[in-house]
Structure formats: structure tokens, C-alpha cells
């Protein structure tokens, strides 16, 4: 199976991505993750102002058949959420690295990004999951 791997983001083992923009970061889920879920019908986002912690569940993404937790790939305060996902959860399937960003955080510890994978390492991680 062919998946897209955005080279400009960092990835968590649990298939979330982070795009760092100065002191802020944007979070979403990977193309592999949306493909595994298949048709997304609902996304539950954290509230603006809430604090998310790296590795802790912070959102839920639901397909026709299942509900999956989304884990924060980075810690910080949520400063914006993608309201478009409310009415168009299918954006997650259509444009996981673009229009379907989940939320934006003000990072509390930008060095946490170093613990995340680059696209090449994440691609190897996905391939190893595929083989299981």
C-alpha cells in the first residue's frame, strides 16, 4: 500500500504529526492513520485553552466502525482548533496533512520535537506495522 509521508512534519509512533511554526505547532494525523481508519465520520477536538501533554490522549477520531484516541505528539496549550472538521470530518481522509489539521498549540517544551520521527523513520515504522 502506498501512503503519503509529508517531509515537513515530525511523527509520533501513534501516527500523529506535528508541524512546528516558531513557538507554535500544528497537530494532525498521518495519511497512514486515516487510511487505517477509513471513512472518518466524527472528530472530537480538545477545547481551546486546554493543556495537552505529549503521549496523552487529547482527541478522538471516529470511523464508521470504530473510535480511536489521538495522542498529543507535543505538550502545550491549545490555542486554536480546526472548526471545519465539525461539519466535514471526511477532510481527514481527503487531506490529512493540510485541511484536516486538528489543533494548534503553544508549545511548553519545543525540545520534545526531538523525540519524534522524521518522515523516513516514520515510513520504516509504518512498514514494520504493516508486516505484523
Amino acid at each position: 500500500m502506498e501512503y503519503r509521508f509529508d517531509p515537513n512534519v515530525r511523527y509520533a509512533k501513534t501516527h500523529e504529526w506535528v508541524r512546528v511554526e516558531g513557538e507554535e505547532a500544528i497537530v494532525g494525523i498521518s495519511d497512514y492513520a486515516q487510511h487505517e481508519l477509513s471513512d472518518v465520520v466524527y472528530v472530537e477536538l480538545p477545547e481551546v485553552g486546554s493543556i495537552v501533554q505529549q503521549g496523552k490522549a487529547c482527541a478522538v477520531v471516529e470511523s464508521v466502525k470504530t473510535a480511536e484516541d489521538v495522542y498529543a505528539p507535543i505538550s502545550g496549550e491549545v490555542i486554536a482548533i480546526n472548526e471545519a472538521l465539525r461539519d466535514k470530518p471526511e477532510l481527514v481522509n481527503q487531506d490529512p496533512f493540510g485541511a484536516a489539521w486538528f489543533f494548534r498549540v503553544k508549545m511548553s517544551d519545543p525540545s520534545e520535537v526531538n523525540a519524534l520521527m522524521d518522515a523516513a523513520a516514520y515510513q520504516r515504522h509504518v512498514e514494520s506495522e504493516e508486516r505484523r
Binding site: 477509513s38 466524527y42 472530537e44 471516529e62 464508521v64
Partner: protein
Amino acid sequence: MTGKGLRRTRLYDWHVRAGARMMEFAGWEMPAQYPTGPIEEHQRVRTAAGLFDIDHMGQLRLSGPDAEALLQAVQTWDIRRTGVGQAHYTLFCYADGGTVDDVFLYHLPDHWLIVVNAANREKDLTWLQAHVGDATVTLEDISEQTYMLALQGPQAQTILQRVTEVDLARVAFHTIVSGHVAGVPALISATGYTGEHGYELLFPADEAEHVWTTLLRVGESEGLIPCGLVARDTLRAEACLPLYGHEIHAAIDPISAGLGFAVSFDKGDFIGREALLKVHLEGPQQRLVAFEMVERGVPRPGYPVVVGGASVGQVTSGLYSPSTGRYVGMAYVPAAYAAVGTELAIVIHKQPRAARVVPRPFYRRRQRGEGGEVPRG
């Protein structure tokens, strides 16, 4: 059988080659969805046609001079109202009114065909055998040699007509005829589990791939695609057709489940009659309701239903309904909360969210004609 002990249908290899994602269902390894995805598969059945491998369903054949008497005793429907060539939904009940299974009965010229849920096939067979007594009947499980497909959707008739000599315009809703499909001797039944017009086809199992691929080929121009069990589930749930293990099970009687239309109290005695009559006369304590979410969220089976802060029931099925764009479900609640318009809350991800009771079903096909859909499991 596979390493996991799951059964596979004769189309297993075809499904895998087509890129289907396989899932375990009732001891079978079945296609959950094809690369098209369950939403498109669902919409295709509503607007064009879909083809389902439903060979996991079991088929029992009952014949002999006492077949009718045995059937009258072990299921809820008065089969004297179902003439030769007709089909009817019915239930096997325990003496306490709980449900053994929900099945479809087909009255054929020299026998009765009983289509049962995959999960209940052995249980049903044992149940029937236990009640044969000294009746003169022949009961056979013909599931292995019988293949079953469902062709469903507004274009189903047009597509099937291309590969059968049977005049489908004369095959009324809930009737069954014998003929040929793609040159193969087949029973053609105007039944289904999607809330759409369509057919279920029964034919010799060795012909599975030939019939399947022929239908897909002749139906392609009408938009026919193969559909998996995920779409089958959202389609049946939108039509509020019950699924055994969810809306009905051993601890639920058909009256509480809203299936009283399949219970004939006036036909004479049958197993469970006394218990069901009591529920019917006193009114069920719990009722199955249809609800829609007022606040967003996907209700899932097992989620609590809350009224005034107290848990009063449980969701049995819940989904995003592709045909209506709403988040909906079914649940058992105390009868006092079952009226349309009643405000409930469903606990989704530990948070109570507003919902309200709405009329059943969520989706009803526009075409007028044969009357309402009748559930089947």
C-alpha cells in the same frame, strides 16, 4: 477453516484479491469493506445497487407431513398466513419469551426453508431437533451446499433481469420463485436487510464465483459494486432492522423489541406464547427506541442512556447515518421514556450528550408500492 478457527466463504480469495479488509463476524472471516469504503458502499445501495456475500447465513430445510405443525409450535408467526411462494419474518422464542433467533421462513412447494443467523445456526438446529418429538419431519442443515448472495438497491431488478428468465416484475415483495441466475438453478427471493428494494439469491455453492462475477459484470453499467458487512450494518440500522445480539437476544422478547407484527397470538399455542402475551397485555417494561443525537457524537453499542443523571438503559446500535447526515442509534429504555420527543442523554466518551427519541425508521425508501420493510437478521 483458518488457523484462527474462522470459517471462510467460497469467495474469500476473490474478496482478498479485490482488496477487501476482512473481519471476524459470528465465527466467519467476512469482507468488512472494499477499497471503495463503507460510506460509498452504503450510498451505492441507496442510489444504485450493491452485491453482498452473505453466505455466512445458515439455511435449514424442513419437510415431511408434520413440518407445518412443528413450525407452528416453535416460532411466533402463524404460517398458515404464508402461502406457497411467500416469505415471512419470524422468531424462535424460549418459554420465558426471550429470543432464540430471528429468522426468515420461505414456504416452498414441498418444504420450508429457514434462513438463520450465522451465529445461531447450530443453536437453531439443536432447538428445532429438541422439539421434533415423534413428529414425522426431515430437518437438514443445507448451509454448506447452499450459497447466498444479496443484490440490493433501486437498480437491483434491472441488473438481475439481465441474467434470469424469471419475470422479476411478477416477483412481489417477500415472495420467492425458482428459476435460473446466470444459467445456474436458483431461488430468487424479493427480500433483504438494507431497507432497499432487492433480492436474495440461493443456489448451489460451487457456483458462487460464477454468479458473483457475472452479476458484478452485468451490473457495472448501473453502478453495482461489492459491499461489505460494515455497509450492511449501517444500511440495516438506518432502516431500524434488528440485529441478533444487539436489538434482540435471549434476555429480550420480541414485543419489547417492537417486533409484535411477527407474533400471532391467535394461532394457538407456541413456545413462549404465555410469556409474550403477558408482556403484550401489561405492556413492556423496556422498549426499543430510535434516537438521534442533538449534541454531536457517535453513539456505540453499550453506551449508557441517561435521564436526569441516572442510567436508564443502553445503546444497542449506533452510527453516523450516511443517508440522513445525522448521528443516530437504537436503545432500550424504560417504557416511560419511549415516547417520540423524549429527551435522553447518551454517555459518549464519559460525557452525557443530548439526544431525543424519534420515529422509526431513520430511513425509508421513497418508492411506493409493496409496503414497509420487514426486519430480518
